[in-house]
Structure formats: C-alpha cells, structure tokens
Symmetry: C2
Subunit: 151 residues, 2 copies
Amino acid sequence: MMVSTKGRYALTVMVDLARLEGDGYVSLADIAERENLSMKYLESIISILNKGGMLQSLRGKKGGYRLARKPDEYNISEILLLTEGTLAPVNCIMQDGVECEKAATCSTLPLWAGLDKVIENYLSDITLEDIIRGNRKKLLGDYCGTCVSAN
Amino acid sequence: MMVSTKGRYALTVMVDLARLEGDGYVSLADIAERENLSMKYLESIISILNKGGMLQSLRGKKGGYRLARKPDEYNISEILLLTEGTLAPVNCIMQDGVECEKAATCSTLPLWAGLDKVIENYLSDITLEDIIRGNRKKLLGDYCGTCVSAN
DNA sequence: CGCAAATCCTACCACCGTGGTAGGATTAAG
DNA sequence: CTTAATCCTACCACGGTGGTAGGATTTGCG
C-alpha cells in the first residue's frame, strides 16, 4: 500500500474544508463527525497539514481550521507528499538526492523511475477543486488513452 | 511503499532469467550470487513465481529454474501482482469484487480509482523484453506527455 | 549404488510502521 | 471565568516486512 490512512484522511479533511470554503473556521469535531472518523486520530493528521502551511487555524472557542488557499491552488501530490513523506512506489528510488548504491548498474531502476513519474504526474495534475467538482474526465481518464484506459 | 522487496526481487529474478534465456536451467545459487541477494530469502520468493506458473523448475543436481514463456510474453503487472498480492495504492479500492462500504458517497474514491488505473496501465504495458532491451522510451516516457513528462 | 547438488518445505523471529488511544496544557470568545 | 476549541506528549497493540534455520526430497553422475 502506497498511501496509508494518514494520507487518505488528510485528503478527506482537505476536501471537506474545500467544500466549506468561505464558512470561516471549521472545528475538528465537525469534520470528524461529518466524515465519521476518529477525532483524536484526525487531530494528529490535521496537525501535520497545519504545520505544513496547508491550513490556517484559530485556537479557543469558535476556533477551527480553514484552507490557506483556494481549492484550485492545491494539487493532490503536495498534500499526500506532506503527510506520507514520500510517494515513491519503491524505496530504492532516489530521494533527497540520495540514490541506491547499485543505481548505475540496476536494470530494473528505469522501470521504478518511470512508475514514479507516472504517479507523480497524475497526482500533481489534479486539484482539490477537481475533486469537489467531480471532474471525472480528469480523475478517471478518457483524455489520454495511454494513461488511463477508456473501459 | 507500494512494492516491497518481495516484488522487487521477484522482478530482478525474472529479468536475470530472461537474460539467460536458452541457457537451460539456472540455479538459485547462481542468481543470488549474480544479483548479490540472500539465497535463502530469494528461495521463498522464487517459490511463489514457480507455483504461480511463471517458471519451470528442475530438482536435483544440474537443476534450477527457467522462464516458462518468452520474455516478451510477461508483463510486469502480472509478476508484481503475483508476488505482492495487490498493486492497489490504497486499501479502500475494490478488490475481488468487494468494495468499500462508503464507496457510493466517497468523494475521494474516483481519485484513488484513477491512480490505480494509471499504475496498472503503465505496468501492464511493459514486458520483461522491454527491460532487458533497455527500452527507455517506453520505460521513462516521451511517448505520452500526460503520462510521463519529458524532463 | 552412493555422493553431491540442487529444489522444496516448515518453522521461527526481530524490527518497525500503521492506526490508533489517553490525558492534559493552552488559548480565545462571550 | 466558564466553555469550547486547538495544541502537545506519551503510549500501545497488531501485523507486515525482511529475513534466518534446518532439514527433507529429488536427480544427475561417476
């Protein structure tokens, strides 16, 4: 599994907040209830989003969270990257400039690099706005036969 | 991480055997030494490949393994699927006909389904032959700007 | 026939990431 | 000054990952 609940729930929170854009600060309790997720667990996840600059928060009564930017200014890749740490499908891929010691002679590396590219390209092309608008063409394909089959 | 060492080493073994196609049966000890991997660990992985019909084996002295088909008749998806069990990037995606209970109302599901498609399409289009021939265009892109960027 | 070289099979295990829970400290509105 | 909210630190069970160990079985060859 490439994306754990941490990344999935983070995206769920971001989509929830994107839907409520303009409603001011939304409390974590509200989000957790709406999405039917553990508030305590969500707390640790939303903390990552907040520290990563994805959100604005307000403490105290009437406090909560809201998006720091417009929904179409977030791409999915950056949200998942922040929460998951990496989106690499294998751990033998170059990260932070450090590559596998066998990289020069490894015959399977180009495959993993290509897979990594495909994933990154897909996720970085989709925004929160696409998700709340249900942009099926962009999400599920038909616009590129080689990327996403038409069946 | 989507693909563990199990899947990676399985592919390494398959590529190794594809390179030696026509040389008869190749012993596990030879493969392990050539690829610099633990023979004991490789044993458990090659056993999955063998039982899954990917290989032919011969026991006893002068025994070993060889490919059951031609290198261009294996796509990478089936090799990884056999060893990893699933290639789904998240565990909330439909598997064996069973889908998440929240599927009907989940706003993020189309994203995960789209990601799954992109991955599956990439991996099922590449064969062992492509890897041993170092088919960079197919592996790393340039043939589809939306799938794999040109940088 | 018997040895050696190979696959095949079962069991075991340490480590770490996942998916949380618990409890309290701090802040701000009214 | 109470209440509702974020913020922070610590803890923990479980299962998957990445192996290791030891032997049983099969087959080629001299």
